[in-house]
């Protein structure tokens, strides 16, 4: 089934207006020798049959109780988010190139930018990037441009997927990427002190670290700035309800994944990346930016601004190649934050930490299970198990629990490490069940 409205009669009239005999004639510029050798696709089907097919496939996925995070988090999403972002004036529109008929999108993105500035404590934000990992890569590229230098210090405590993206993005450029292995889930401060130098463009860190440790990178910001380098901090959006902001730490650029703000897990996407920076860097920011202005009558209005940075104008000299971003997901983020509000976000962050601290307590009460470090944590923490974590996770999965992310695949030597995530959605009963099942798996 298709969605084309043409009747046979209309096609005939249109061909007559064009002055050709058949639709096929319109393709005369494609020589026969170039025509498709094959187009072996199944016949179409009705909406009902398609939905049946998707339902059957969804049925082949199984629900598990997720104590996994690693960049994507199972948070509440108020029903209003789906409902409002599902208004087709938003979701069937394109990039707001014509501001007069796109004020809805433009004002929402301006409000989104404001929310990101307030969350991160930095003065400017773009209108979203693809995801947290690519946002970190874009921040590294931005720092290289700003400083004119060619060395990136990448903390090994940053999410391994994000690190892989950064390495992929920089692999073909004349840039040295130095990864500094973490110590007990935290940045190796003494190593950083030795490595930050006047060739360094930026120091890339994450808060909380991939291991869950909460940090204050004010000291690294100071060291970086003394050498003329920038501090880039990747942050977990919901944690900013509670934790010291990148701005307060002296970071120059903050990035992160916005999934935790009103976007469903959806098997990894779509979510959005955010990027905020000090105002002095705004011309180096990648992607779209919405700015306030007035119309001919002096009424407030919003437009895409500083477009001369972007690929459609500056081509190979643009700050980034990004065109489509994740606008609708950013809108979801804004609606989510508006529903929660100032106090709601703080409460949500505290609720996460309460649950995680409770879980940390009951899990480390199990014989042989210890916390990786004494560093404070937010809603994720790393356990050291008396057995390889992979085996334990595998056996708990059979009981319908995703107990955490085994660290072995990402940190050779850390095979006994398990990263556990506890969001506000996990009940005390679920946490207690995890503890019982973990104890059983370890000792029975």
């Amino acid at each position: 089934m298709g969605f084309t409205p043409h009747t046979r009669e209309e096609i005939r009239e249109m061909l007559a207006a064009i002055g050709v005999g058949s639709v096929g004639d319109l393709f005369h510029s494609i020589p026969q020798a170039l025509r498709a050798r094959s187009f072996d696709l199944p016949p179409g089907m009705s909406e009902f049959e398609m939905m049946t097919r998707l339902q059957e496939l969804a049925g082949r996925n199984a629900d598990v109780v997720p104590f996994v995070g690693g960049g994507f988090y199972d948070h509440i999403i108020p029903a209003a988010v789906d409902h409002l972002a599902g208004r087709s004036e938003f979701y069937t529109a394109y990039t707001p190139y014509q501001p007069e008929c796109s004020q809805g999108t433009l004002q929402a993105l301006f409000e989104y930018q404001t929310a990101i500035c307030r969350l991160t404590g930095l003065a400017s934000s773009n209108a979203s990037l693809y995801d947290g990992g690519t946002a970190l890569a874009e921040a590294a590229l931005m720092a290289l441009r700003i400083t004119g230098r060619s060395r990136i210090l990448l903390d090994g405590a940053v999410n391994p997927f994000s690190r892989s993206i950064v390495r992929t993005y920089l692999a073909n450029l004349p840039v040295e990427v130095v990864e500094l292995p973490p110590v007990c889930g935290e940045s190796d401060r003494s190593r950083f002190s030795r490595e930050i130098d006047d060739r360094t463009a930026a120091v890339l860190v994450q808060n909380p670290t991939f291991f869950g440790c909460v940090a204050d990178y004010g000291d690294l910001a100071g060291q970086a700035h003394r050498c003329g380098a920038l501090l880039v901090s990747s942050v977990y959006a919901v944690s900013l309800g509670l934790l010291k902001t990148p701005g307060e730490m002296g970071a120059d650029i903050a990035v992160g994944d916005g999934q935790s703000l009103g976007n469903p897990l959806s098997f990894g996407g779509p979510s959005f990346g955010f990027l905020a920076a000090g105002k002095q860097y705004i011309r180096n920011v990648p992607g779209r930016i919405v700015g306030e202005t007035v119309d001919r009558e002096g009424r407030r209005g919003f437009v895409l601004t500083l477009q001369a940075r972007e690929q459609h104008i500056k081509r190979q000299k643009a700050t980034s190649n990004i065109c489509s971003n994740q606008s609708l997901c950013a809108l979801r983020g804004l609606i989510f934050l508006s529903c929660l509000g100032r106090r709601g976000l703080t409460d949500l962050a505290m609720r996460n930490r309460d649950k995680a601290e409770y879980a940390k307590g009951v899990l480390t009460a199990i014989r042989g299970v210890t916390a990786l470090s004494g560093a404070p944590t937010f809603n994720e923490f790393t356990l050291c198990l008396p057995r390889p974590a992979g085996e334990v996770v595998s056996s708990l999965l059979k009981r319908g629990i995703a107990a955490g992310v085994p660290l072995g695949p990402y940190y050779p030597g850390a095979e006994h490490g398990l990263l556990v995530t506890v969001t506000e959605k996990r009940s005390r009963d679920q946490i207690d069940l995890l503890a019982r099942e973990l104890e059983t798996a370890l000792w029975n």
């Binding site: 005369h28 629900d63 500035c117 065109c323 606008s327 409460d347």
Partner: protein, 481 residues
């Protein structure tokens, strides 16, 4: 309209959180805490609902309005696809990456794998990755794959060739991978100038990036020769899939010599554009590039079960957090299932019919810089109207008042006062006739009453905004921050 921050009332609350069924944790040391709560608005749920509902009414989309935005393929977005994607929202992407976790994600992995297979057949390529998150992300991924190919062969390459009609994403994607750009001009037929192309080719060229049909809406009949010439110097040829809708079932990039393609699922495969995203930009490659594809790869075992392969030593690595914009890919999969072979061929043919109909009915009043049969879009110039000081932008704004989203204007850059119209196949003759009437009215007004066009739009929430003020003042955060 007030900003949501201006509607905030201290102490008002929206959402109630799940029960606190565990003891409160002892507070974090103050040094780790933010000084004060983030200054988010405080509203009731109804306040929030009214605000965003009112904002939505200050927007137009495909569902409200004909949206012939050239190069963007603003076709109808089937509602069933929204329902279909929602079936997969609860599934955590880390689960299949856990030991023994793949069996909990068979349905989602099947969609990724099957959509890849469908795209292989549609584009004539050997393997597809669904990881890239948008068209431009597909481009940069594709150029990284090309760079990996050359590196492995020990080729020393410096340049990427793009025609001057290309999307800006092409040169900027290649530049992000460290290549220098060589731009080849367009000839009198609207194609990349072949003599200048041949002159630009050398052993140092890594890739040639082509949009086919190009941004003028024209098909280049010499495309196979262009690919062969590139291959002769071991340059690979990249297919920008932005305009794939035009040639569905007629031509497959893989058959004529392209080595890498990206597909814009949010264009050709009917997924919504979401006010600028999310998109999805799967990349297809020929066999020689398969080893370099991003990890993890979704692979199908002999038993029909799907798994993730991250152990690929030659891979360029990850280009995104997980497996791509899954929700978008699931929609595109549903779309492809519904249309099937005949539906996709129909879509391409009727998109081309619609564009040529608009072209035929407007070419007497608007200059057509390249007067020939077009593919899925046609590019006019407002140069005739410029004699009355009417520019493409004035015509665009007038169209808003007539109830249409304007076409793309000022792109491609090589056409003066460009007006690029892409009707798509889902629009009826009646809609096109109404649009054509409005365009004809604009052309008449340009001569008779240009001031009326300069005033437009008058029906929108705001009149033309002062973009210079926005760029000079750079107010990008309500609080000035």
């Amino acid at each position: 309209m007030e900003l949501i921050y201006e509607k905030s009332v201290d102490g008002r609350a929206g959402v109630r959180l799940p029960a606190g069924d565990v003891p409160a944790a002892s507070p974090l040391p103050a040094g780790f805490l933010r000084g004060e709560p983030a200054g988010l608005p405080e509203l009731s749920e109804l306040d929030v609902v009214r605000h965003f509902t009112q904002l939505s009414r200050r927007n137009i989309g495909v569902d409200t309005t004909f949206y012939p935005l050239g190069s963007c393929t603003m076709k109808y977005n089937a509602k069933a696809l929204e329902e279909g994607a929602r079936l997969f929202t609860p599934f955590h992407p880390m689960v299949p990456l856990l030991p023994g976790g793949e069996k909990f994600s068979q349905g989602a992995l099947a969609i990724l794998h099957r959509m890849g297979k469908l795209l292989e057949e549609i584009t004539g390529m050997d393997a597809v990755t669904c990881q890239p998150l948008a068209g431009a992300h597909g481009e940069v991924t594709g150029i990284m794959l090309i760079a990996a190919y050359h590196k492995a062969k020990g080729n020393r390459k410096r340049y990427v060739i793009v025609p001057d009609s290309s999307h800006g994403t092409n040169p900027s994607s290649a530049a992000m991978v460290g290549y220098e750009i060589v731009t080849v001009p367009t000839d009198a037929c609207g194609d990349m100038d072949r003599e200048k192309y041949k002159a630009a080719l050398s052993g140092e060229v890594a890739a040639v990036m082509m949009t086919c049909p190009n941004t003028l809406g024209l098909f280049n009949p010499h495309i196979k020769e262009i690919c062969a010439l590139a291959h002769a110097v071991d340059a690979l040829v990249y297919y920008d899939g932005a305009n794939l809708n035009a040639i569905l079932g007629k031509l497959r990039p893989g058959d004529v010599g392209f080595d890498v393609v990206h597909v814009n699922l949010h264009k050709t495969f009917g997924t919504p554009h979401g006010s600028g995203g999310p998109g999805s930009g799967p990349v297809g490659v020929k066999q020689a590039l398969v080893p370099y594809l991003p990890v993890p790869r979704v692979v199908e075992g002999g038993d029909g079960r799907f798994s993730l392969d991250s152990d690929r030593p030659l891979s360029i690595g990850r280009t995104a957090n997980f497996f791509g914009n899954f929700g978008v890919i699931a929609r595109a999969y549903g779309y492809t299932l519904m249309l099937g072979k005949e539906g996709l061929i129909d879509a391409g043919e009727l998109a081309v019919l619609n564009a040529n109909y608009v072209l035929a009915r407007l070419k007497d009043l608007y200059d057509l810089p390249y007067d020939q049969t077009c593919m899925h879009e046609c590019v006019f110039s407002a140069s005739r109207q410029l004699r009355h000081d009417i520019r493409a932008i004035d015509i665009a704004k007038f169209l808003i008042d007539k109830g249409f989203h304007p076409p793309t204007v000022y792109f491609p850059l090589i056409v003066k006062e460009a007006i690029m119209i892409e009707p798509t196949e889902t629009e009826s003759k009646a809609t096109l006739d109404a649009f054509i009437e409005a365009m004809r009215e604009a052309a008449v007004l340009a001569e008779k009453d240009p001031a009326a066009l300069k005033r437009a739009p008058v029906t929108t929430p705001i009149s033309r905004p002062d973009e210079t003020k926005a760029a000079r003042e750079q107010k990008v955060c309500h609080f000035g921050c």
